[in-house]
Amino acid sequence: NIPESGHKYYLQFSTENYRTGENAGNCLATVLYPKKKSPPVVSIKCSHTKDQKEIQEEDNRVYQRIRHQSKPITGNNIPDSYGKIEPALEPVWALAVAGSSSIMWEKSTETLGYFLAQVKSVRQWIRKDDFIEFDYTVLLHEIPTQEIISCHMRLTWLPGHPLKVKHFCAAESHGVDEGSGAESGSAAGPATEKGANF
């Protein structure tokens, strides 16, 4: 607690691969929430267990899996009610995880946190260039309110480039789409990464 200035947190944490649970590196960070409401000031330094080359190769694999599909990809309820993800939709889910993390980065506050609960729907837009583009409706689980927030997310990506995310979250939770919440943003991805790492 820094009187007059706000609250400063010192964090030490490890990261893990979202899919496999393997350790992906450790980070040291400080987060300062200033007294007046504004985005926190963050400084962070991470070590990676994989080198750039491995990361690039994995990104390329995800990219190729998506590019090689013959029709534009669409899907609903990923994972389904039983927690299952269609193998063909797995890379699409992985992109949703990465993309929604940028929404969560922007929405989180000192007292509000998020998890990705489910991808409600996804639709691919075919582009003339090499970028892949998706429209998502993602459902975020908000703590501690326990609300489910529905967000629309437009995501564009090419390996080697930061993930581009535009989002718009409904103000009301749970299927009631009021749409008066005025949040849209685009994020270039975490500052320390060169490309999205799945």
Binding site: P79, G83, F115, Q118, H141, P144, T145, I148, H174
Partner: protein
């Protein structure tokens, strides 16, 4: 691989006599000396084929020991491998309420010497709430362990655990010395689904529904968060008075029929209940009282000690790590929780479990994690029961 013409002829005879399934080549007449031969042999004939090949001095190698297993593994998950069958019921799948009702009836029928199904109350939408009592007949008065699951509709792994727990006890009480020991002194009361209306709604309409289904404001919004509706500092913190909110605490403590059904029953037995367990997901936590205040409960050391042992037992199984502490300190503030209420009316060991995972799948935990989750949680719960037994 046949080397000589004679061996080829013998093999051709063997294949046609036994009607073996040739995979390479496809027809007996295409069998050639010096060329590999692949045959799928049905299980009952394996020994006979091996003996014949030995007699013919033809060398062979088993490429696939169990073809059926491979086929099962490559099938979509629905009803393939990992069947945990107990009288036909598959405990490694999620079940809709209809099936859980049937399961309760079957469980009582198949284990009538130990299990009785009891009426607890009615839900808002007029569905019957039943709990199962597991009680070894004896003239000794017994103390009670209560466990409820499914107070929040979307936490499907919770009812799955209650069902698994019952199955484990019933399958092993005769052979497991631990279980038979504590059943001499303790009765187990299990409520597999507390929020039945909500659970059904999460199957039929909205997988991520949390609350009950009672309407408010003329049907403008539905549901009370049953875990904010109990009479423990009701309405004070971590709640909303807006019926749209997922933590809407109702119009007053115990305003909901489901809450009243549970509270009335537990009150009536409170002198005999030594332990209250309520199962949720997700987060991998064992939570102690309280949520509404940072002031520790009177027996905090005991609560923490036992919880830590339980968490350690759990972690020992698959390495899953759980955190232990009061709701107010490691989660967030909330009032009106069933666990807090149970402790304040005098039940000494009251815990909330938050099962797997920590957010990767959250509420939508894949069915293939039901088994490991239930196995590890079983160890934690039996640790607590063992402690109570002493």
């Amino acid at each position: 691989m046949p080397e000589t013409l004679q061996q080829v002829q013998h093999l051709q005879l063997l294949c046609s006599t036994l009607m073996l399934d040739l995979w390479k080549p496809l027809l007996p007449e295409d069998i050639r000396a010096g060329e590999d031969l692949h045959i799928r042999v049905p299980a009952p004939l394996v020994q006979e084929v091996k003996d014949s090949l030995d007699k013919l001095m033809i060398s062979y190698r088993v490429l696939i020991p169990d073809v059926q297993k491979l086929v099962d593994q490559s099938m979509p998950r629905e009803r393939s491998s990992h069947r945990q069958v107990s009288g036909g019921y598959v405990y490694t799948e999620y079940h809709p309420m209809e099936e859980i009702y049937q399961w309760m009836t079957q469980i009582q029928k198949n284990n009538s010497e130990l299990v009785t199904q009891h009426f607890l109350g009615m839900t808002f939408e007029n569905r019957t709430m039943y709990y199962l009592q597991i009680s070894q007949p004896s003239n000794k008065p017994k103390k009670i362990i209560w466990m409820d699951c499914g107070i929040h509709a979307r936490e499907w792994i919770s009812p799955a655990f209650c069902q698994w727990f019952v199955k484990e006890i019933l399958q092993n009480y005769k052979t497991d010395p631990n279980i038979s020991r504590f059943l001499q002194n303790l009765d187990l009361y299990v409520l597999p689904v507390l929020n039945i209306d909500g659970y059904i709604y999460s199957w039929e309409e909205d997988r991520l529904w949390r609350k009950s289904r009672s309407p408010y404001e003329n049907g403008n919004c539905y549901g009370t968060d049953l875990n904010r509706n109990f009479n423990s500092s009701w309405g004070s913190v971590g709640v909303s008075f807006d019926c749209n909110s997922d933590v809407f605490c109702g119009l007053g403590p115990e305003s909901e029929p489901e809450t009243r059904a549970v509270a009335q029953f537990i009150k009536s037995k409170k002198n005999d209940i030594l332990c209250y367990l309520t199962i949720h997901s997700y987060g991998q936590l064992i939570l102690t009282p309280y949520g509404s205040t940072n002031k520790p409960p009177s027996n905090n050391e005991e609560l923490m000690q036992v919880a830590k042992e339980a968490a350690a037992a759990l972690t020992g199984k698959y390495g899953t790590s759980y955190r232990v502490g009061s709701t107010a300190s490691i989660l967030y503030s909330n009032s009106g929780s069933s666990r807090d209420w149970a402790h304040t009316i005098g039940i000494p060991l009251s815990y909330t479990f938050e099962l797997r995972d920590t957010g990767t799948h959250g509420f939508v935990l894949p069915a293939d994690q039901i088994q490991p989750t239930c196995e590890e949680t079983m160890l934690a719960v039996t640790t607590i029961i063992d402690y109570v037994d002493k």
